[in-house]
């Protein structure tokens, strides 16, 4: 489904990676690992189309993503380094707004149950929650994104407790089993087997 061909990325005059190619099919995990500053986040941003690679291209089902734009965006969930939740809004508001923007239909009940799955209070402004809870508020979107084939996750396991990691792991495995593709970055052992590992130097 996702294909990267001969990618090269430069940031601030430094080459982060080059000649990077891979293919990712349905039901596959790709784990991107590497030291800090090795370009994990940049690679994810290239894959989701936020960053234009200085060479090479990313293709989705054979078509370059630069030409697809919103059509490609509708097929993916990207959870970046920043949690993308508003401190002044409650977890529920955050989640339902995020879903509307992503074009994912989510009823009020679905939103509530997704929050419950991540053990989040739904009527407190996110500002008052802990770091880990904020992370969960961002991840709760995944519980509603079962129908979106491609998940691109930047350090999804960071700041989560053991229970949260387990829950997220189950969610990811479930998505892969249903034929989704997942790319995630991590510098720690995720605790479950990825189909493939990409080590960035």
């Amino acid at each position: 489904m996702l294909e990267a061909a001969d990618l090269r990325c430069e940031r601030g005059g430094r080459v982060l990676f080059e000649r990077l190619s891979f293919r990712l099919g349905a039901g596959e995990f790709l784990r991107v690992s590497g030291a800090n500053g090795s370009g994990k986040t940049s690679l994810l941003r290239v894959l989701c189309g936020l960053l234009t690679p200085s060479r090479g291209s990313v293709r989705w089902k054979g078509e370059p993503v630069a030409a697809l734009r919103e059509e490609y965006a509708r097929q993916l969930v990207y959870l970046g380094h920043a949690p993308a939740v508003k401190g002044d809004l409650t977890a529920e508001e955050n989640l339902s707004i995020a879903c509307t923007l992503a074009g994912v239909a989510a009823s009020r009940d679905a939103v509530k149950s997704a929050l419950a799955r991540f053990a989040l209070p739904d009527d407190v402004p996110v500002r008052r929650l802990s770091q880990g809870q904020r992370r969960r508020a961002a991840l709760a979107r995944l519980a509603l994104s079962g129908g979106v084939p491609l998940w691109l996750l930047d350090e999804p396991f960071a700041a989560l407790d053991a229970e949260g990691i387990e829950r997220l792991g189950a969610l990811l495995s479930g998505h892969a089993e249903k034929g989704g593709a997942i790319v995630f970055t991590t510098h720690q052992d995720p605790g479950f087997a990825a189909t493939r590992t990409l080590e960035l130097a």
């Binding site: 970046g80 949690p83 993308a84 939740v85 401190g87 002044d88 809004l89 074009g103």
Partner: protein, 222 residues
């Protein structure tokens, strides 16, 4: 597409509501700037009457610019802007919605309190209408053009000062036409011509600025 636009406007209004203080500060700034001139120039009624349209418009322009810095910066910092770029709706639509929300929060209240300032300047009650009308047509142009500058200066050092350097020259025609409309009306000639030009600017800005904002956002987020 419309659902996304409505959602962005709703979200920004909700955020403004939760942070009423920020909105109030911009309004207060407008009132204070407009009140400074009589103190600095002297309270000669004829003089005040003749500078009123210009002063009110300059104050409106500065206050609308004051809140531009926040337009995209908060969303940029917490990653929400990335999500908007990766949203299901075209970025131009989202950008237009953001600018519209900015106008609702920072422009529309100015229209409402402008008559109050006009009172301070002893501007005849017959002119309140055209003053409010010129602000009503002109301030959305300020929000749209300002959003281009805000998107371009996103995350830059010294962004605030740079933003004003980029945006103020683009604001000049709006200022000239807006203040001109009131001035012509005060001279008993009707400011229709200026209002029509303002309308033309609004149409152009509404049609083309969202593209420029979208392009600028894509560049700034790379």
């Amino acid at each position: 597409m419309l659902a996304a636009a409505r959602c962005v406007v709703y979200r920004d209004l909700l955020l403004a509501l939760r942070r009423r203080g920020d909105v109030a500060v911009a309004l207060l700034f407008f009132v204070i700037v407009a009140s400074l001139f009589p103190l600095g120039i002297g309270a000669e009624p004829n003089l005040l009457r003749s500078i009123a349209p210009g002063v009110i418009w300059v104050a409106a322009l500065l206050s609308s610019m004051l809140s531009l810095g926040r337009l995209f910066a908060a969303d940029y910092d917490d990653g929400t802007l990335e999500q908007m770029l990766l949203g299901a709706a075209p970025l131009g639509v989202v950008a237009a919605a953001k600018a519209f929300a900015h106008w609702l929060v920072a422009g529309l209240p100015l229209v409402a309190i402008a008559p109050l300032i006009a009172l301070q300047y002893d501007l005849g009650a017959g002119l309140w209408g055209i003053l409010a009308l010129s602000l009503l047509v002109g301030t959305p142009v300020l929000s749209l053009l300002g959003a281009v500058g805000a998107a371009l200066t996103l995350g830059l050092r010294g962004g605030g000062v740079l933003l004003s350097l980029l945006v103020l020259p683009l604001y000049v025609p709006v200022l000239i036409m807006g203040a001109g409309a009131v001035e012509m009306a005060a001279a008993g000639l009707g400011g229709g011509g200026q209002l029509l030009v303002l309308g033309a600017m609004l149409v152009l800005a509404a049609a083309f600025a969202p593209w420029a904002i979208a392009a600028a956002l894509r560049i700034s987020l790379e």
